[in-house]
Amino acid sequence: MSVYLECKKVKRTGFLPAFIGGGILAAAVPIVNMAVRSEMYLKQPGSPIQIMLGANWQMMTMLNVLLAVAGTCLLYHTEYADNAMQKMKSLPIRESSIFLSKAVLTVFMSLFVLVIEVGAIIFCSYLWFELGSGFWGELCKCFGYSFLLMLPCIILLLLISEACKNMWVSLGIGVVCVFTATMLPTTNFALSLFPFAMPFQIFAGTDITQSAHYICGAIAELAVCGLAQLIFVKVRRSFE
């Protein structure tokens, strides 16, 4: 019910077209890259997914995360812009359940964007490489991993947007965080646990134990963010 309500709210804000457009833009990256300089990648060792993600994932993730930044800012902006939040608070709904339904909506849309990108990767592999026997399994594992590492980032972004009533503040913080993530060295494990840096990790070709550490890290961060949201709502209520 609550999620359905959120879907109705975003109807005329351009939320859905923005995610579809962003997904198509991110999916165009590997296709264009392969079309322009395929000979550079065909000689490389490794599986097709590994080669293509290694070449394009940086830019695709950047687009995904920026899309999430813009989307989450907008979701709470529509609430704060004309004091709709006050009306929402007077309804017999928990504030956390609003957060949860917004999170479900954003996560679902991010999944949708990832599916478009998977389509592009399949298309490229089919056209330029040979689909090996383990292709589908690797593809599922790879994008499942990417999706999981995306989650803490989305939840943290929503938390920031909920905390800041002005859109430019949450957008500014989001942009600064994305920028910080691009500056962090990916080799350092502790630093790359920063929620905005995690989506830049690639599953294919990395050590299994290290991937397991990242998955544990992502789940822990999700738990911390969820708890922080519950506490934040309670604390803010008592000060308003």
């Binding site: 920026l66 859109m167 430019w168 942009v175």
Partner: protein
């Protein structure tokens, strides 16, 4: 109302917006890795660049690539949303002021924000250069005149880009599209600067200019240099076109 008063009014509106705080945080975050990795500047003999030049240019390349354009997108959101939040724009439009003047006044504020951000970067640069000089026992501080020349180059080359972002935020009413297009247009600038058509893409100007400077300072690196002839006319045309369109479109959605 004369133009300067209008600009003054626009500055008053953003006084409590915390935008300067965000810009300052970005500037500080940019230079922290440079201080921590100051030692790496000594290993650049292959490129033939001196450590102090490398320290300076790497930091500013990081800024010109993503942080600076993205902050400008945030700035456009600030300028448009402060007005739309409580229908302030309707009151402004009901005053006997030409809308084009109002639009240009807001653009001047945006340019000032850009200048402030670059100056903050420079300030933090001097602090971090002083710290690194202390830790590495090597003078990282460059002469002021050289630094001033570089930062004014970045600022001037960014004007068409800022005009483009301003046009986006004026023409596109739904905020997610103006933000989304703005942020998404920054990402491919890394690819565009390697092509021959870079001068047609205003978002890549600051980054192109700073990489060209890097090529000049590093003796062994061959970076594409700025060719003034197609660039200056095209850049001026883009800037004027974007500003013209935004002046025409400013306030039209509200007047309908």
């Amino acid at each position: 109302m004369n133009f300067l008063t209008l600009v003054g009014v626009e500055f008053k509106k953003i006084r409590r917006s915390k935008i300067l705080f965000i810009l300052a945080v970005a500037a500080v975050i940019l230079w922290i890795p440079s201080i921590l990795n100051a030692k790496m500047n000594f290993g650049m003999q292959a490129e033939g660049i001196s450590p102090e030049n490398n320290f300076f240019i790497q930091g500013f390349m990081g800024m010109a690539w993503f942080m600076f354009p993205a902050s400008m997108v945030v700035g456009t959101v600030l300028l448009s949303q402060t007005e739309r939040a409580n229908k302030g724009i309707l009151k402004m439009l009901s005053l006997p002021i030409s809308t084009a003047k109002l639009c240009i006044a807001k653009f001047v504020v945006l340019l000032t924000l850009a200048a402030v951000q670059i100056l903050m970067m420079t300030g933090v640069y001097y602090i971090s250069a002083a710290i690194s000089s202390g830790t590495q026992d090597y003078n990282f501080i460059l002469p002021t005149l050289f630094v001033l020349k570089e930062i004014s180059l970045i600022f001037l080359s960014a004007i068409p880009m800022i005009a483009f972002f301003w046009m986006l935020s004026v023409c596109i009413q739904t905020p997610i599209f103006s933000i989304g297009i703005g942020l998404a247009s920054i990402v491919p600038s890394v690819l565009i600067i390697n092509t021959k058509a870079w001068f047609a893409y205003p978002m890549s100007y600051p980054f192109f200019v700073i990489t060209a400077e890097y090529g000049k300072l590093a003796a062994n690196l061959d970076m594409a240099q700025v060719e003034l002839i197609p660039w200056i006319p095209v850049a001026a045309l883009i800037a004027l076109l974007c500003l013209g369109i935004s002046c025409l479109r400013f306030g039209q959605a509200e007047r309908r």
